[in-house]
């Protein structure tokens, strides 16, 4: 039992820490591709400056993302040996495919992206930038496929019994396109776009507030805002589609997300609430029958509740799943409202006039990160007590030969090292942002005015 808790904490901690970085790399990568492509097409120097500046930031996030990513691949073997044996055929194949088809592309091209500005022709460099971006998108494909198979297993059969039981592939494409793959992949991709775009918006809003790189930042802000508006709206669609899928494929998880206990009855939709598991009650603001309506366009249609499942087959942390899910949704809604409001201000020609709006953007960078984390916590805790839904329990998936003191030792080490890593990340990001793009051409209206004033007064 102790080993199980420690191993679960360790995996959750290392994977949650890892997940700060890949979404940033994918999201910043998208804008890097847009900036550099625009530069190659228009030859306008400011896009080159933007592309180079964001490549510097990208280098920091990508580096930490890679080194913290290998950890999980190893942990499947070190901490979850029984799981590894059980799913190796399927989960292992997806990991191998990720390495061969995605990670190799992005990591090789990364050298050219970072060090090749003066070594290769501009269009070759652009190809490298695209390769890194597409490589990170493909990585997400295989990782999400692997995880989705844990949520909604398909295309497999079970061979052997007891300790020797294993899931083997029957139909590769059914395994890849399992019922939740596509919904979850698009949700993850767009979540990553949001993480990247809102960081870029935050940094350029900060420059605008400080009166630095004003022309450059206005340009970058507008381009990025367009991506943010599209992404935040699209996220609503993929989220809704995901929830529909969860209702069909993992009813116990959906019931936990809304705190719906009654085995068969109309289900409410909560805006906020608190779940009292013991008394099977939720206190909060709700739309009665709202969940039924969302799923079936009717307020009366019954939805399967937690009580339809035996105690040992349903998630135990109902309130946590509920809260993580609702916080994610709330953040998503806020991002839509904020980006649409900014768009309207832009149309009115007032986008950069409200200081408070820019300050809101400065601090919003953290929110998509939180939403991504909360979403995964809801998804993974909602799947419990299963590690592979309906097939293998988390408690059975452990490494039998590993002892609690070993896991405690590694957990402490990871905690120390990741704390150092996080402090370094913040320090280096802050430094790169404070230093700014440092372009040799000054696009800055502010300082340009200043220069003109100086010239005039000297005369």
């Amino acid at each position: 039992m102790e080993v199980e808790i420690l191993s679960r904490i360790q995996f959750a901690f290392t994977v949650a820490f890892h997940y700060i970085y890949p979404p940033l790399s994918i999201g910043i990568g998208l804008l890097m591709v847009i900036f550099e492509t625009t530069y190659i097409r228009t030859k306008k120097k400011e896009y080159e400056v933007l592309a180079k500046f964001w490549t510097k930031i990208f280098a920091i996030t990508f580096g930490i993302g890679v080194v913290t990513g290998i950890v999980m691949e190893f942990e499947f073997g070190t901490n979850w040996a029984t799981y590894s044996r059980y799913v190796g055929d399927i989960f292992g194949s997806a990991l191998a495919a990720e390495g061969i088809f995605a990670f190799a592309l992005e990591s090789s091209a990364l050298g050219v992206l970072l060090f090749g500005w003066n070594r290769v022709k501009p269009w070759v460099h652009l190809v490298a930038t695209w390769a890194v971006f597409l490589g990170s998108m493909f990585s997400a494909v295989w990782i999400v496929v692997a995880n989705s198979w844990q949520q909604t297993p398909a295309g497999y059969h079970i061979v052997g019994e007891g300790m020797q039981a294993r899931a083997e592939i029957l139909d590769f494409w059914a395994m890849v396109f399992n019922p939740s793959s596509v919904d979850r992949l698009t949700h993850v991709w767009i979540g990553a776009f949001l993480a990247g775009t809102f960081l870029i918006l935050s940094v350029h809003a900060y420059y605008l507030l400080k009166g630095r790189y004003v022309v450059l930042s206005k340009k970058a802000f507008k381009i990025t805002l367009v991506v943010a508006v599209i992404s935040s709206l699209a996220q609503l669609a993929t989220g809704h589609s995901s929830a529909d899928g969860v209702a069909v494929n993992q009813p116990a998880k959906l019931a936990a997300m809304e705190g719906h206990f009654e085995a068969e009855g109309p289900a409410d939709l909560y805006l906020i609430g608190w779940v009292d598991k013991k008394n099977q009650e939720v206190t909060g603001i709700k739309i009665p029958g709202g969940l039924s309506f969302m799923l079936h366009q009717d307020f009366e249609t019954p939805v399967t509740g937690l009580n339809a499942f035996p105690e040992e087959d349903r998630p135990s942390q109902v309130n946590a799943v509920f809260q993580f899910y609702h916080l994610m949704v709330a953040i998503g809604m806020f991002l839509i409202a904020l980006s649409l409001f900014a768009l309207i201000q832009w149309k009115r020609g007032k986008l950069f006039e409200n200081k408070w709006l820019l300050w809101v953007f400065v601090f919003t960078a953290i929110l998509p990160q939180l939403a991504n984390q909360f979403g995964w916590f809801a998804a993974e805790m909602g799947r419990q007590p299963w590690v592979v839904y309906g097939l293998l329990r988390t408690s059975d998936a452990l490494s039998k030969s590993v002892q609690a003191n070993q896991v405690l030792f590694s957990l402490i080490l990871f905690f120390i090292v990741y704390s150092i890593l996080f402090l370094l990340f913040i320090y280096l990001m802050n430094k790169a942002i404070q230093k700014g793009p440092q372009s040799d051409i000054d696009f800055d209206e502010g300082s340009l005015n200043q220069q003109i004033t100086e010239v005039i007064t000297n005369k």
């Binding site: 979850w80 191998a96 990670f103 090789s108 060090f115 090749g116 290769v120 070993q406």
Partner: protein
């Protein structure tokens, strides 16, 4: 009845694929480890800077081989993957932490000008590189040594420090020596002037270090671990491979004396591949020898994924392998030749 491809069954093919990937990883990241190992012996900041620039654009691509190797091992031999990684819990966790420190040291060193900052990352880079080489050797040593397994292929030894036995430590040291020799030659290809002549001295030390540690490890292995010799006694033709290892190693100092470092690098690479071939011949078709009861040994047959999975993955490798080699070729070509000391990069 077993499915075969060109007369060889799929688990055997997969044994070759995984072995090939790890050989590729050892050759590629091996010189990164070696270069890192020498790093703390450079006195000047500019030398350290050049040495770091020599591997900076390519080490990411090299690390990919580890990720792919791990993925193919997981998918192809899941039983082995689970048992080995959980049995070798401590060394693998340490390996991960050093992989993290190696990576961030390279990334962060040049982001600040302060002397203490650069020193700190220089040391962490160098120690991590040496420890990575050592731990890979230690794990390999344990695989060759065998370990106690039960009839569910679970490791039944235990404790924190089981992974450290005289043989695994010797293999670990030999790994460090091998990669330092290999890395010294790589740096000779990438540097000029004073650093170049200093690397020439280092290479002599590296070659001596390797020959001594390799000889001791081999003798110790032959005298204490009888099972290692069995496959060779049964098929005398196998002795050709150790003979080739000997010839390949002998070539290295010969070419180094003529300053033909390009060829010397080819021969250290071949040496690494051949040493792994020696290991493969000792093991095949076993993957992990059960030291108490041989019945419980993990072989490529009882550890393998289904033939269908292996076939699918052969397809991955057939399509993806040439792609990976193409990317690597392109990147190495872009950064071919001596390190330019002007400040380029991000």
């Amino acid at each position: 009845m077993a499915d075969t491809l060109f007369g060889l069954d799929y688990p055997s093919w997969w044994f070759l694929v995984v072995g090939g990937l790890f050989a590729g990883y050892a050759i590629l990241d091996g010189f990164d480890f070696g270069a890192g190992g020498w790093h703390m012996f450079f006195k000047q900041d500019s030398s350290r800077d050049t040495a770091l620039k020599a591997i900076d654009p390519t080490w990411h691509g090299n690390e990919v081989w580890l990720v792919i190797g791990g993925g193919t091992l997981f998918a192809g031999f899941p039983v082995f993957y689970g048992t080995l990684f959980s049995a070798m819990y401590t060394p693998f966790i340490l390996f991960l932490l050093f992989i993290i420190f190696r990576g961030i040291s390279i990334k962060f060193r040049n982001m600040e000008p302060m002397q203490w900052w650069r020193r700190m990352w220089d040391w962490s880079y160098s120690i991590s590189s040496i420890m990575l080489a050592f731990l890979l050797g230690v794990v390999l040593g344990n695989i060759l040594h065998g370990m106690p397994l039960d009839n569910n292929f679970e490791y039944v030894g235990g404790g924190f420090f089981e992974f450290l036995n005289p043989f695994s430590i010797l293999v670990g040291i030999t790994g460090v020596a091998l990669f330092m020799m290999h890395g010294a030659i790589y740096l000779l290809l990438k540097t000029e002037g004073k650093l170049y002549s200093r690397m020439q001295q280092f290479l002599n030390i590296g070659m001596l270090f390797f020959v001594i540690s390799y000889t001791i490890t081999t003798l110790y292995g032959l005298f204490t671990l009888e099972h290692l010799l069995t496959p060779y006694m049964e098929n005398k033709i196998f002795f050709a491979v150790p003979l080739l290892v000997f010839l390949s190693i002998a070539n290295v100092p010969r070419l180094a004396r003529k300053e033909k470092y390009g060829w010397a690098f080819v021969f250290t690479s071949i040496t690494i591949a051949l040493l792994l071939a020696v290991v493969a011949l000792e093991l095949y078709p076993t993957l992990l020898l059960s030291s108490d009861n041989q019945e419980n040994s993990i072989t490529i047959y009882n550890a393998a994924a289904s033939t269908k999975t292996l076939k699918i993955m052969m397809g991955f490798v057939a399509v993806g392998g040439p792609l990976v080699i193409m990317y690597s070729y392109f990147v190495y070509r872009t950064f071919w030749g001596k390190v330019k000391t002007d400040t380029e990069g991000y």
